[in-house]
């Protein structure tokens, strides 16, 4: 049947044989990773293993760090090498959104926070902005809570709300890929639960890559998991397979907590 014979959809994000250095120290080495569309991929590993660095490579957030550069290999987003000369950083980041560990709403109104991305991309029409804000807030399951106080300062929200607002802000520009850098590490369990529920919803429209130090979270939310250790990608597999049946010894000991 033709449907079966058609090749699998190309990965949205593909990292090939990438080395990454901070100055003279190597942070990542020989990374190979292919992230499938509309899936949640978790990056796990001990502190300092390079998982955040890898994440920040995908939207080139490391560009600003002095001395940081990709020394070998390449990163493709939707088949395009993001280090090509003709890649516009603004366009890349429009397609690869990011949510940070610490919720960081701007000291502006809720509306302005969500509309920020669209505004920076030159959207001025009030209708388009209203529409984008509402859609993003609905996606982030905030619309019902906040629709009556869009003109209040975002700093007045609770921690969980602030983080969901940051997610809404990141998806308001309708990116293909959403990077999340330990988005729940500063939240209480209930807020964490809400964000995790949200992530399942988000995966219908976005490809999500999440860094987490919480292995239960990785199990709960992700479809694929990559385990990094000391700058190397040790194992990358479907989450169920990796957790129930790790192929590498290193992975197994990390999962068991008997890490030396």
């Amino acid at each position: 049947m033709p449907a079966l014979q058609s090749p699998p959809p190309p990965p949205v994000v593909q990292v090939r044989e990438m080395d990454f250095c901070y100055g003279s120290s190597i942070a990542l080495e020989g990374i190979n990773l292919a992230v499938e569309r509309y899936r949640i991929t978790a990056l796990i590993g001990a502190s300092g293993c390079g998982k955040s660095t890898l994440l920040r490579c995908i939207n080139r957030m490391n560009d600003r760090v002095p001395g940081a550069r990709v020394t070998k290999g390449e990163i493709l987003v939707k088949g395009k090498n993001i280090h090509d000369d003709d890649v516009d950083l603004t366009q890349l980041r429009k397609q690869v959104g990011m949510v940070f560990q610490k919720s960081s709403p701007f000291p502006k109104t809720i509306y302005e926070n969500v509309a920020y991305g669209q505004r920076t991309h030159g959207v001025k029409s009030k209708d388009i902005l209203d529409d984008a804000v509402e859609r993003a807030l609905r996606h982030a399951a905030l619309w019902e809570e906040l629709k009556d106080r869009l003109d209040q300062n975002a700093l007045g929200l609770s921690g969980g709300q602030q983080q969901r607002l940051c997610i809404a802000r990141a998806i308001a520009t309708r990116p293909d890929v959403l990077l999340m850098d330990e988005p729940c590490s500063a939240l209480d369990p209930i807020a964490t639960l809400k964000i995790e529920e949200l992530m399942h919803q988000l995966a219908r429209e976005f490809t999500v890559i999440i860094v987490t130090h919480n292995m239960q979270q990785a199990v709960r939310v992700s479809d694929y998991t990559a385990f990094l250790h000391l700058g190397k990608l040790v194992e990358f597999a479907e989450t169920d397979a990796l957790f129930s049946n790790p192929r590498q010894k290193l992975t197994e000991s990390y999962l068991r907590g008997t890490f030396s």
């Binding site: 890349l92 940070f100 610490k102 701007f106 000291p107 920076t120 700093l155 940051c166 802000r169 520009t173």
Partner: protein
């Protein structure tokens, strides 16, 4: 070993309770080492607080006596009848302004006729001065030789004369005859000037002829503007009789005041009531009210008649305009004069001067007059207006400069640029303000004045300016002094913007400029506002520059010239203290008035700093 309260214990072993409670530390006068160290640190930190409180107390101690002293002065002013005289004198001052307007009208009108003759004469005299200036050296030598007591040898004199002649001829040959002189006059002038010698007392003939021509033309001009000349003279003479009477009354009032002052300075008046019989001293004034009113009326009528006889047209359009301005001002002036005459009978020397009135006279008084032979007034408004105008203007200039520099340095500059810009801007702070004052006097003042005379800039308000030393000049220098403060604080505020905001904005695809102007600057807004306010605090307390450069005219600036008001000179709160405190006698009303100014300045600075703190607090709240 304290006595045990516990019955169970044996004397040889202390109870657990006494072991725990007994302090092991050695004490001195009930203070152990820990407490002593704590006390030492506390006293150091409270030193600043104590000093601040002491400063406030001393300022208050010196300043607070001002109100009773000034009240006494104002009472004397009233009791001795000086106030009575001022009722008439003050409105009469406007007559002077009207006169000077008329004088200008007259000279502009005469000028239309005399201009040519005068400029011819002046040009010729200028030529002579030029020649004299060029041959100054030789002339001086010859003059000295002639003046020697044993007369110099004739040959030597002749030689010196020859040298002078040569030099003079050389100078004359270089002269360009001004176009206003006819060729033959120019030729005569050159011939006469070439023979110029220090012994001839009279100017060359040509010059005398030109002078005579001018005088003739001037007389003609006076004749042709006869109605105007006569009307102006009549108007000037109108208040003569009133002045004579007023001066008699003023003399009497001043004598009464001198009696009071002598009485107090001799020490006898300490704590006692003035023994001077004001009632009998005041009668000579009040008894002449009818006469005074009569003379006021006479003056009014004479002024009116003189004004009516003014011709409708003056020599030039501007003069005609000024003339009509003067005509428009006159009725108001005369009404005031007549109103003053009406007030005279109601005036009483006995009315009490309340403290409320004294406070009003200080805080809302529009005249700061000191060392006057008539009466000192300590009105604070002229100084306040000067200080505030200069400070606000300085901040308006410094704010864009320093904020934009801070944004550039903090966000766009490379590390090497930062290492250059920051020390340089902070170095400005190290320039002694006196040195900046020099620059203001010797450079900036001239530059501003020259620029204001450029013809295509005349549309700017206040241009062309007359005074080199003015508020704008001072404000420019103060702005320079405020820049380091504002720059550093604004840069700190920008630096304090959380990293997370910048990351988030970058991750949303914002460009550097968008991040800076949509996130960083708005987030630092409160800090930047605080920087501006602290800059204002810095500027309003600055003394040396304003003292040297602001022009030190104690008068409320004339706001009728719109924005051009900034090019007028003014005096300031700080400047007046620095200028006058050294010269007043300690404890006098003037001394105390200066301390009052100091207190107000102190309060203003406190308020400004408090506002800045409030801004910073708000900023920190919003950050957390």
């Amino acid at each position: 070993m304290p006595a045990d309260l516990n019955n169970d214990s044996t004397p040889s072993r202390p109870t657990l309770g006494s072991l725990l409670l007994k302090s092991q530390r050695r004490t001195f006068l009930g203070v152990d080492k820990q407490k002593a160290i704590r006390f030492f640190f506390a006293s150091n930190s409270s030193a600043a607080v104590i000093v601040l409180v002491l400063i406030m107390l001393f300022l208050l101690r010196e300043g607070v006596d001002f109100l009773p002293t000034y009240r006494h002065e104002l009472e004397t002013y009233q009791h001795a009848g000086l106030e009575f005289c001022d009722l008439v004198e003050q409105p009469l001052a406007e007559h002077q302004q009207l006169c000077s307007k008329l004088r200008r009208v007259l000279s502009a009108s005469l000028n239309t006729i005399t201009y040519q003759a005068r400029s011819r004469r002046d040009a010729a005299y200028q030529q002579m001065r030029d020649v004299e200036e060029e041959t100054r050296l030789q002339r001086a030598v010859l003059t000295n030789a002639l003046a020697e007591v044993p007369p110099a040898a004739l040959e030597k004199l002749a030689q010196l004369r020859q040298e002078l002649l040569t030099a003079t001829q050389l100078a004359v040959s270089r002269l360009a005859v001004p176009p206003s002189l006819t060729p033959s006059e120019g030729w005569q002038l050159k011939r006469d000037l070439a023979l110029l010698s220090p012994e001839s007392a009279e100017p060359p003939l040509v010059l005398e002829l030109l002078s005579a021509a001018y005088i003739r033309v001037d007389t003609e001009a006076h004749a042709s503007f006869k109605p105007l000349v006569e009307a102006v003279e009549a108007f000037e003479a109108a208040p003569d009789e009133l002045h004579t009477l007023l001066n008699t009354l003023k003399k009497h009032a001043r004598e009464t005041k001198a009696l009071v002052t002598d009485f107090h300075s001799s020490g006898k008046g300490h704590g006692r009531k003035d023994p001077i019989d004001f009632a009998s001293r005041i009668t000579p004034l009040t008894s002449r009210i009818p006469e005074l009113s009569g003379r006021i009326e006479a003056y009014a009528q004479r002024a009116q008649t003189a004004a009516a006889s003014l011709p409708p047209q003056a020599g030039t359009p501007q003069a005609t305009k000024m003339l009509s301005e003067m005509r428009a001002m006159l009725p108001g002036h005369l009404t005031e004069m007549r109103a003053a005459a009406g007030k005279l009978p109601q005036w009483s020397y006995e009315k009490r001067v309340s403290y409320f009135k004294v406070v009003l006279a200080f805080f809302f008084g529009d005249a700061w007059i000191t060392n006057s032979s008539w009466q000192d007034f300590f009105g604070f408004i002229p100084l306040l207006v000067g200080s505030v105008l200069i400070a606000v203007l300085a901040v308006l200039i410094a704010t864009p400069l320093s904020i934009i520099a801070a944004i550039y340095t903090n966000q766009f500059a490379s590390v090497r640029e930062q290492d250059f810009i920051k020390p340089v801007i902070e170095f400005i702070q190290a320039i002694p303000s006196v040195v900046l004052g020099f620059i203001g006097i010797s450079v900036l003042g001239d530059v501003i004045k020259d620029v204001s005379h450029v013809s295509w800039l005349q549309w700017l308000p206040g241009f062309p300016i007359q005074e080199r030393l003015n508020m704008f000049n001072a404000a420019c220098l103060l702005a320079l002094m405020a820049v380091p403060t504002m720059f550093s604080l604004a840069e700190d505020a920008l630096n304090n913007v959380p990293r997370a905001y910048i990351d988030a904005s970058d991750a949303l695809g914002a460009t550097k400029l968008q991040t800076v102007f949509r996130v960083i600057v708005p987030s630092a807004r409160s800090g930047i506002s605080a920087a501006v306010l602290l800059g204002l605090g810095r500027v309003i307390g600055e003394t040396m520059v304003v003292l040297l450069v602001a022009g030190n005219r104690i008068a409320i600036p004339d706001f009728r010239s719109g924005l051009g008001v900034v090019f007028q000179p003014a005096h300031t709160l700080t400047g007046i203290i620095a200028q006058e405190l050294g010269e007043v006698s300690r404890g006098s009303a003037h001394w105390q008035a200066l301390f009052m100014v100091g207190i107000v300045l102190f309060v203003i600075s406190l308020l400004v700093n408090w506002c800045a703190r409030a801004f910073v607090r708000r900023f920190e709240l919003s950050k957390s």
